[in-house]
């Protein structure tokens, strides 16, 4: 793993430097389990520009984490299999890359951080070892240089007394600190794209804010593309540029952050917004979307949301499901009656 890995990666066939850092086109993923085939991802598409933050919003079990793992190529298969679609990094379809090169793209170009940093960090190795490992393996650095770089990284993510803490183990760090270590690990090799799979869900609110601020600052400095996967509407509002809302393995609405909050064009998004407790509505009964998301092994025909949808009519229940209607040049919504939903405002 000599340092010339960047040279090799820049020479990838079909690489177009000014193409988007990450484009996902009609991604299909299914899980072949004992009780049937679960269609976790049914044609998800989105893209993200350098310096932009793309949020993927949805309840747990809607396929957002699977999408992220598919992009990174770390799906456990079996049981998971990518059965369709393309994942383009600067025009290069990662699905077609041989594993050796795909592995180089990971960490060097596209990095990822996970939700529960305690279980995501190896408990029996020091934080320093797990950071230095990246430099020793990808950049072929010596043990001392790699350790020095590790300390620098810990400083970068504002971990106090980095020199001493580098020899500590993950369980000796607090929740927030651990998440900072995860971020340090992800940014070690200056990736162009960072995928954050529910980075702050396991943290309490105050630490959550610090982490999101750190992410924003680092993104700004490095003009990095950030894909933020979460189910927390609050976090999305103040960080994301564009939002894709997912339900039952499909993107059902995609728009700029202000448009969505201002006028959601899909009943599900509308329901989500209404379920956020707001100060100005104090004392009123909170409205929640009735029912539960469908099991991915038998997704209802037509629009997957129809059983729980106020606006649902017969057409919503027939196949093929609603396409992504163009609400505005920069917005889409997969609902036959998006006008009524949007209009209700």
């Amino acid at each position: 793993m000599s340092t010339d890995v960047n040279v090799k990666l820049d020479a990838l066939p079909g690489l177009d430097p000014n193409a988007l850092p990450l484009e996902v086109k009609n991604l299909q993923v299914e899980f072949r389990t004992r009780n049937g085939i679960a269609h976790a991802v049914n044609g998800v598409s989105f893209d993200v520009r350098a310096g932009e933050t793309r949020a993927i919003l949805g309840e747990s079990g809607c396929g957002k984490s699977v999408t992220a793992q598919a992009i990174m190529g770390i799906l456990d298969s079996p049981p998971g299999f990518i059965t369709g679609g393309e994942i383009l990094y600067r025009g290069v379809d990662l699905l077609k890359l041989p594993e050796a090169q795909r592995r180089k793209v990971r960490a060097n170009r596209i990095a990822m951080i996970f939700q529960d940093a305690l279980s995501a960090l190896n408990p029996v190795f020091t934080v320093g070892f797990q950071l230095a490992e990246l430099f020793r393996k990808h950049r072929g650095m010596s043990r001392q240089d790699a350790k020095a770089r590790a300390v620098e990284l810990l400083d970068l993510v504002k971990i106090p007394a980095a020199k001493q803490r580098v020899n500590d183990y993950p369980h000796q760090f607090s929740g927030g600190m651990r998440q900072r270590v995860m971020i340090a690990m992800a940014l070690a090799l200056d990736p162009e794209v960072l995928i954050a799979d529910e980075p702050t869900t396991a943290l309490d609110v105050t630490v959550q804010a610090q982490i999101m601020a750190l992410l924003a600052e680092l993104q700004q400095e490095r003009n990095m593309a950030l894909v933020l996967i979460t189910h927390d509407m609050g976090v999305v509002a103040d960080v994301a540029d564009r939002i894709s809302v997912m339900y039952a393995g499909r993107v059902i609405e995609e728009a700029g952050v202000n448009d969505i909050y201002a006028s959601p064009a899909h009943p599900y998004t509308k329901g989500l917004l209404e379920s956020i407790p707001r100060l100005d509505l104090k004392g009123q009964e909170l409205s929640a979307i009735k029912g539960l998301p469908p099991a991915l092994t038998n997704i209802p025909p037509g629009c997957a949301f129809n059983p729980r949808c106020r606006y649902a009519q017969d057409v919503c229940r027939q196949n093929p499901g609603p396409p992504l209607y163009q609400v505005t040049p920069s917005r889409t919504s997969a609902c036959h009656f998006w006008r009524e939903v949007k209009g209700d405002e």
């Binding site: 592995r103 995501a120 190896n122 990246l134």
Partner: protein, 353 residues
């Protein structure tokens, strides 16, 4: 950590004392109920009372409490009348043994008037060699099989390992031992000895039906493998389960996300975590193995500790049984302590205050 070790060492004392008293009382009961073991040395001939008495005295079976059924031999009437604290009693056979073993390191003699310490000194090298071979064989093959089966969960290989390990565990060791000795040691050995291209070390050294003085290490390889076989099965099962659990852990996904090669993800990250329960099992197993190899030692004629204590138990040599088994218990306790400490080294999350 230091305080923990000291606390554990202090806990040894009641345990070892308890074991020693248990063994002492059991062997004394044996003599009280089954009669003087010295009598058996004369076989069918009935020795003159004088001779039997002299020999009984010399071998330490003369204590009067040994002739009273149920007497725990803790106290005895002092010969000169004035005993401890003004009573007429003085510390009995048990305290003599305690004093001898722990203060004078004198474990007494067996029926053939040989020092128990010499008996153990003769036996330990063989048991240790057998142990080392068994542990290496068990660890290497066991972990390899377990890892392979664990990684390819559900595959044919996994099924093969699962079935073969369960089968080995359920075959009683003495059946395995006898079959291996007869077929591998004798039959196959004779075939090998027939061919002259096979070097002597292998044909005469390894494939022998039992221990041979002129190939002290080679002739223990097969007995060691038989002894290790049962624990090999357990190690493989343990490793397999542990790998299957750790393979799903989040940190493995992180390692993959860090673009590390599959070999490193498995070899370094997953293995390091999965081996913790396996190593603790091996540690405990070593302690127990010191005396556990009774059957293997008997079948392959290995003059080890297991066999020494078994034969002494049968011929009623209580000094050997009490002395050697107490030492073994001490070894097991120390082995278990070391394993717990090793556990803390292997897994930094474990803290002992």
């Amino acid at each position: 950590m230091g305080r923990y070790v000291i606390r554990r060492l202090l806990q040894f004392i009641p345990t070892v004392l308890g074991t020693m008293f248990l063994l002492h009382y059991i062997t004394s009961l044996a003599i009280q109920f089954s009669g003087n073991p010295v009598r058996a040395m004369f076989g069918d001939r009935t020795p003159s009372p004088a001779q039997l008495q002299a020999l009984t005295e010399r071998l330490g079976y003369g204590d009067p409490c040994l002739s009273r059924k149920g007497d725990p031999c803790l106290w005895r009437v002092a010969a000169d009348g004035n005993g401890w604290l003004g009573t007429s009693l003085e510390p009995g056979l048990f305290f003599d043994r305690l004093g001898n073993i722990f203060f004078r390191f004198d474990f007494g003699i067996n029926l053939r008037q040989r020092e128990v310490t010499d008996l153990v000194a003769d036996a330990i090298p063989f048991t240790l060699k057998l142990l080392v071979i068994a542990i290496i064989f068990e660890a290497v093959v066991g972990i390899a099989a377990g890892v392979l089966a664990g990684l390819r969960g559900g595959s044919f290989l996994d099924y093969m390992v699962k079935i073969s390990t369960v089968f080995i565990i359920s075959v009683p060791i003495f059946v395995l031992g006898v079959v291996v000795r007869e077929f591998v040691g004798v039959k196959f050995g004779n075939v090998l000895r027939g061919q002259d291209w096979v070097p002597d070390l292998i044909s005469a050294g390894i494939f022998t039906p039992g221990f041979k003085a002129d190939y002290p290490f080679a002739s223990l390889i097969i007995p060691g493998m038989v002894l290790g076989a049962v624990s090999l099965a357990t190690t493989a099962r343990l490793t397999r389960t542990s790998i299957m659990e750790n393979i799903r852990a989040d940190y493995v996904r992180t390692a993959k996300a860090k673009g590390l090669t599959n070999k490193r993800v498995i070899g370094v990250h997953t293995l390091r975590n999965s081996l913790i329960p396996v190593i603790t099992f091996l540690g405990v197993d070593i302690g127990a193995a010191m005396a556990g190899a009774v059957v293997t030692e008997t079948i392959f004629n290995v003059p080890g500790i297991g066999r020494l204590v078994t034969f002494s138990a049968r011929s009623g040599e209580s000094s050997v049984v009490v002395g050697v088994v107490t030492m073994l218990v001490l070894v097991v306790l120390i082995a278990n302590l070391l394993v717990d400490l090793l556990y803390a080294v292997l897994d930094p999350r474990i803290r002992y205050e």
